[in-house]
Symmetry: C2
Subunit: 432 residues, 2 copies
């Protein structure tokens, strides 16, 4: 711990510090690093945990438990045995679960496209575009969610994330507007803040009255089984709760095995009420003859039940845990007590959310980039890429190995401090 | 050959014939058949030709030729080595080919959805819906093409199929209307008439002037390598020809391995101009992190080049050829010379197109259904399922084995004759 936080330093002390930090940054640039903390990609070691999939189904044949020849056309809802495995982890009855392609993002995209082309069950018309449909976006959040809204011309209303999930007072206030049609949620080990929604948050999302009769919760449960701590964080069953509260069609649940088996070759899931499932499959029936059932069979054999999934995820956790610990160690060592940075200590998921001094995130990303350390663009965790306080940076530690990660983090913390000192000096010069 | 065609029979002869045919139909119903000629599904024997895929990539690893780890995210355009294999068969340069999911229908659907949401390169606005965009539909054609148009609210204008492809005089007349934005084509061994477009047809499609600057040919080359005769029917390269004629963005080429490897677990392709490829991938970038590259790797290793594809398709042809021959034999034996049926003798593809007496197709399908023989619904090969002459039936012989196929066909020819006699009698009674 330092004697003084950086913001408390005198102008002269900051000036001295700036010179030292710039020297250090110059040396960092000279190292020719090529490191990448941008995306939540599994590491090769994680992917290798699912190596048996690469030879499956092999000699074990191509027949599903119900006798389906998985090689042929058909079976829009996906293999029952795979849906049974993921019913528990995703908290959706197997008969209300759809196992589809290799991408849950694609399923979310299709749901929104179908909403704007046709409306959802309960809609009196297609969802209007170009600013007349609004989607609530807890921030910081997942850039790809926001990119879909932007592409489809849907307005985004940021809602602050708290320690217990989105600010529910704000959510309940906003859904009184009939143009507010949806909310994005990553309810467990959230991207990027690693928050798991509290029981009260989930209950309020399930129970709240919305002006729009066709309001939808996009429940992207991407990290449902992705704990890294000793104890898993519990999440309430929003689909069941919504039904209990008289809103059976409120929730679209999404999930996938992308960060369980192979990132590009996994299986994605959609779960919802029977009416919503019929709605989606009705659209899919015009779009495709069915998903890749052989890949679903591979997954069903590799992960025959929920305990098999849990055991497999333990092995992922063993690989990810040291990376999260390393981030905390390196950040604490240099930035602890400086008053210019705070960060999350995730108990699951894929990301650490780092808040630097207001107005400094873009500069940190720039300084790191000059030194060969690629970070997620500043602002990416906000709609339209605009962080109003320019302070949030998402760190994705899964892909690099521990040595690379340490090098990247040691460069990063320097850049955080340098950007802060630049900013504080400019402020004390009256130019900030 | 009969002495007299059925339409030339007297009322009395027809009445006698009706009694005999109804008896025969009654006996057919008593057999309790459960046969299905509805969909172009590969048979288990055909699927088994690709059995090695089920154990791939196995111990051969997960690394593409360019070093890509196929298990991880990324690579929106698909594996270069697989695109190289299918570049020749699909007549698209590999760098202008996209290898995507498991369904070319999905790619067609996405192209039309993106056209109505955003427009295509050359559009001044999104394609209007609800009858203000028209798509030319050569008939008889593929029901799933028409179903997409119907779903998206696009008008369909039928154009007769001839022995050389769509009636090009009619096509050229219709594209003078700026609301005519597209044409569906299955250019080789067409669904269901098995016509391969002539050189002149392809040239005229490539060269014609269209009022819409953003007109598109949806070139569904589903049967590009699916000949069953000794000599393959040649098809001109429409993408190259369109470019030569100053319409580089005119053509969207589609294809897939669904009827080459595994029907539900193959790889689909989109090929077009660089501008169109960028357009589609730009949309896909918001929708997914990328296709299943492990499945693409499997396919690239199983089918390393175009000659490997050709050799593999020879084995398919050996299984399909006897089925096409059997259809011709059974139909000729009972319906030859009756004057109430004509049918195609395919040199490739998956279907036989059967024309029965005008006004009889729905009745034939009904009579066959009563006897446990499922046929594609009458009218399915026309927009909105309405065959104005109620005469076309699509036969899909690939799935059943030869014995089942013979049983189904022998039932079918009876139903064709029975429906014709009913119709002729009604006409001679003045009630037709």
């Amino acid at each position: 711990m330092r004697e003084l936080e950086l913001p408390a330093l005198t102008h002269s002390a900051l000036s001295d510090r700036l010179i030292a930090l710039r020297d250090e940054h110059q040396r960092l640039k000279g190292q020719g690093l090529r490191l990448d903390l941008t995306r939540g990609k599994p590491s090769p070691e994680q992917l290798t945990l699912s190596q048996p999939l690469l030879g499956m189904p092999g000699a074990d044949g191509h027949t599903a438990q119900d006798g389906t020849d998985c090689r042929n056309y058909g079976g829009l809802q996906g293999l029952p045995e795979l849906r049974a495995t993921f019913s528990g982890p995703l908290q959706v009855p197997a008969e209300q679960l759809v196992a589809f392609g290799n991408s849950s993002l694609e399923l979310m995209y299709e749901c929104l496209v179908d909403a704007v082309l046709f409306g959802v069950p309960g809609s009196s018309a297609p969802w209007p575009r170009e600013g007349r449909t609004a989607v609530l976006c807890p921030v910081p959040g997942y850039d790809r969610h926001f990119a879909i809204c932007e592409k489809l011309g849907l307005d985004m209303i940021p809602v602050p994330m708290t320690e217990t999930g989105p600010d529910m007072d704000e959510v309940e206030r906003l859904v009184a507007d009939e143009w507010v049609k949806a909310i994005w949620c990553v309810p467990k080990y959230s991207n990027p803040t690693a928050v798991t929604f509290s029981a009260e948050t989930v209950r309020r999302l399930a129970a709240m009255e919305t002006a729009a009769p066709d309001f939808r919760v996009f429940w992207d449960n991407a990290y449902a089984v992705h704990g890294v701590a000793d104890a898993d964080e519990p999440l309430l069953d929003i689909l069941g709760l919504s039904t209990e509260h008289g809103h059976p069609d409120r929730v679209f649940v999404f999930g996938s095995t992308s960060k369980i088996t192979a990132a590009g070759s996994g299986v994605a899931f959609f779960g919802s009420s029977p009416a919503n499932v019929s709605w989606l499959l009705g659209h899919f029936a015009k779009r495709t003859i069915g998903p890749d059932k052989v890949n679903q069979l591979r997954h069903a054999r590799f992960l025959p039940d929920a305990p098999a999934v849990a055991a497999h995820m333990e092995r992922h956790a063993a690989l990810l845990r040291p990376k999260f610990e390393l981030i905390d160690t390196v950040l604490e060592k240099r930035l602890g007590g400086t008053g210019v940075a705070s960060w999350t200590r995730p108990r699951g998921g894929y990301f650490v959310s780092l808040d630097v001094l207001d107005g400094c995130a873009a500069r940190v990303v720039e300084l790191a980039g000059e030194a060969g350390i690629a970070l997620t663009p500043a602002g990416a965790t906000f709609p339209h890429g605009k962080d109003p306080r320019d302070r949030n940076i998402r760190l994705a530690p899964s892909y690099p190995d521990l040595d690379e990660l340490r090098d990247a983090l040691e460069g990063l913390v320097l850049c955080v401090e340098l950007a802060a000192v630049e900013r504080l000096l400019a402020a004390s010069d009256g130019t900030g």
